[in-house]
């Protein structure tokens, strides 16, 4: 009954094409935004910011980037971690070469570099598809991580070979580095995530999104109705890598504080890919649900048994986490290939007609 749509009539195509044609959806989003912008920051502890809120947002953003490429445009990529790395290293170079640069501008600009690299490694997609393309992006993954290690200019010839985030301030407030507060960083990440999500929603529901989906579903038909496949694929690579690169810059500058090349190795790529798959390929919301699950699960496993008095070994938590995530991935691939997003859609459909079965 809460979700009843009866009586909500549309009298113009503008109203029918609004972002949330159903009033309850808009209300729900309002509640979530209120939580994210006001309630969580007021109540969260330092620990919550560092282990849950900020990483969920960053991982969601990275998964959203990957989802544009894999879920919407149908081009499988295994190089997400490396593209995050490109964003992080680009941001580091921008900040150290131009210390006067506003950190937010630097983070948003660093995505441009990863977009460029993404387009470059996306060129093979014009010729090859599916698994073969995945292998090509895997090559990007290994090559880029190797480059982060060997090209000393990237980390300013540090003896450690790692990048260290310096103290950065914006209008007198530290936003990155050891002195920045978690809440400031959370707000920055939240702002950028909201902005990019909104842009991605617009892109995916408009002309470009339809071009991508057509390329994904039936590329020959797409070409014969007037879609330039090269343009379609390369814009998908560019937009995807941009978002992934920004997520990578946030990952290091707003959360980790430092990074070694192997941080961006293949486990990170797979982690983001799992989030996208569990959340649901071809959806925007799913990335958030997937990230909440993947990031939240180990925290829950760590804290809940202890809270109810069961002492659980941290190594066991680690193992349990891997086992549960693995099982979930198999479960979703078999039972619900469209992921958590589809689950939510089914629940919503049921809610709309509740309490009647039809």
């Amino acid at each position: 009954m809460l979700y009843r749509t009866a009586g909500q009539f549309k009298t113009s195509y503008r109203a029918d094409q609004a972002l949330f044609p159903i009033r309850q959806d808009a209300f729900l989003l309002g509640v979530i935004l209120l939580c994210a912008w006001v309630i969580f920051p007021l109540t969260a502890s330092e620990f919550t910011f560092q282990t849950i809120l900020t990483p969920i947002l960053i991982y969601s953003l990275a998964a959203l980037g990957l989802n544009i490429l894999t879920g919407f445009a149908g081009q499988l990529s295994l190089g997400t971690g490396a593209f995050m790395g490109v964003g992080a290293y680009a941001c580091y170079k921008l900040i150290t070469l131009m210390p006067w640069l506003n950190p937010v501008v630097a983070i948003l600009m660093s995505g441009v570099f990863s977009a460029g690299v993404g387009v470059l490694f996306g060129i093979p997609s014009l010729r090859i598809k599916g698994f073969y393309l995945a292998i090509a992006t895997l090559a990007a993954q290994f090559f880029l991580v190797w480059l982060f290690e060997k090209w000393a200019w990237l980390y300013n010839f540090n003896s450690s070979g790692a990048i260290q985030v310096p103290n950065l301030d914006m209008f007198g407030l530290y936003v990155a580095g050891p002195q920045a507060s978690s809440m400031t960083q959370y707000y920055l990440v939240l702002g950028i995530t909201c902005l990019l999500t909104w842009i991605c929603i617009n892109l995916t529901r408009g002309t470009l999104g339809r071009t991508w989906k057509a390329t994904r579903d039936m590329d020959i038909a797409a070409e014969l109705i007037g879609i330039d496949l090269m343009r379609s694929k390369l814009t998908a690579f560019a937009v995807s890598s941009y978002v992934v690169g920004v997520a990578g810059a946030l990952f290091v500058f707003m959360w980790r504080g430092a990074a070694e090349p192997n941080l961006f190795d293949i486990p990170l790529s797979f982690r983001v890919l799992f989030i996208a798959i569990i959340g649901g390929l071809g959806s925007v919301l799913g990335n958030y649900l997937g990230a909440i699950l993947i990031v939240g699960l180990p925290v829950v496993l760590n804290t809940v048994p202890r809270a109810i008095g069961i002492e659980i070994d941290s190594a066991l938590v680690e193992h349990l986490n891997i086992m549960i995530v693995g099982t979930l991935i198999i479960f979703f691939l078999v039972v619900e290939p469209h992921g958590l997003n589809q689950l939510w859609r089914l629940i919503r459909e049921k809610l709309i007609i509740w309490p009647f079965p039809h």
């Binding site: 195509y13 094409q17 002309t207 994904r216 070409e223």
Partner: protein, 271 residues
């Protein structure tokens, strides 16, 4: 080029000059000659059928028209000028729409999105306008939605506009595919076996839609079809192909009485 005088058909449609002309087309795949030295033309406003037994080269001919294959010899003239070798998407943007023998819809999208995708060639908002859903991007979405709704009304698929295409039955999928092709407002519409696998009722519906499209929008239509009854009833002129050669060309009556065509295709009376 043969010069034609425009004329009006018995049912009141106007057939104009030549829209597309195939001149001495030869297409080879390695050593196999799929099409050998074929010439024919398509006039504005007419329904032109291409018939022939399986493997005669009909689909290859359609693929040449839509720019998917490039003939080794011969020229394609379109709107009075020779057409250079083009990519299929460029041909589509010049106003050639088509449907496919095996349905080629975008299965993951709703009917509405499929038909909207058909209008891509009419949408020009820049990347940033789309990203911000601002100005031209929003206006185009609304304007094109109106146009799409007209086509949805025309083909009577209002009830399924929100349904994902993957869930539709075969006959409706064929109709959605026609809707997607029509959405582009093509000057020339290519239909590759629009009635394959349909029952009599569905064939009648589809025939009616084809005639209506031709009549209401004045769209020139070139179609491939195996059902002789349908072809003879619908089309103004028929090209008959066999083993990559043209063996007949003319009105349905002329073709029906042509001895070569009867021998090759319509069947020879033995005995």
């Amino acid at each position: 080029m043969t010069a034609y005088e425009p004329y009006t058909t018995t049912d009141g449609r106007t057939i104009g000059g030549v829209l597309m002309e195939m001149k001495n087309i030869t297409l080879r795949f390695g050593g196999v000659e799929a099409i050998r030295d074929i010439s024919f033309d398509i006039r504005e406003g007419e329904i032109r059928a291409i018939i022939g037994p399986n493997g005669a080269g009909k689909s290859s001919m359609l693929n040449i028209i839509s720019g998917f294959y490039h003939p080794q010899e011969g020229e394609v003239w379109y709107k009075g000028a020779p057409r250079p070798a083009m990519k299929p998407y460029e041909v589509a943007r010049m106003g050639v729409g088509r449907t496919f023998q095996n349905i080629a819809l975008f299965e993951g999208m709703s009917v509405l999105d499929n038909v909207m995708t058909g209008r891509l060639t009419h949408m020009h908002a820049s990347f940033w306008q789309q990203a911000l859903w601002w100005g031209k991007a929003e206006r185009e979405e609304i304007y094109n939605r109106e146009q799409v709704e007209k086509i949805i009304d025309f083909l009577e698929i209002q009830a399924i506009r929100r349904t994902p295409v993957g869930r539709l039955p075969y006959g409706l999928k064929k109709r959605v595919e026609l809707a997607r092709a029509l959405a582009a407002e093509p000057s020339l519409l290519l239909l590759d076996e629009p009635m394959a696998g349909m029952n009599v009722e569905e064939k009648e519906d589809m025939s009616r839609f084809i005639l209506d499209v031709n009549d209401e929008f004045g769209t020139t239509i070139a179609l491939i079809e195996h059902d002789m009854g349908v072809v003879m009833d619908l089309s103004d002129r028929v090209v008959v192909m066999d083993y990559g050669r043209k063996i007949g060309d003319g009105t349905p009556d002329e073709v029906r009485n042509d001895q070569d065509v009867i021998d090759a295709y319509l069947g020879v009376a033995h005995g």
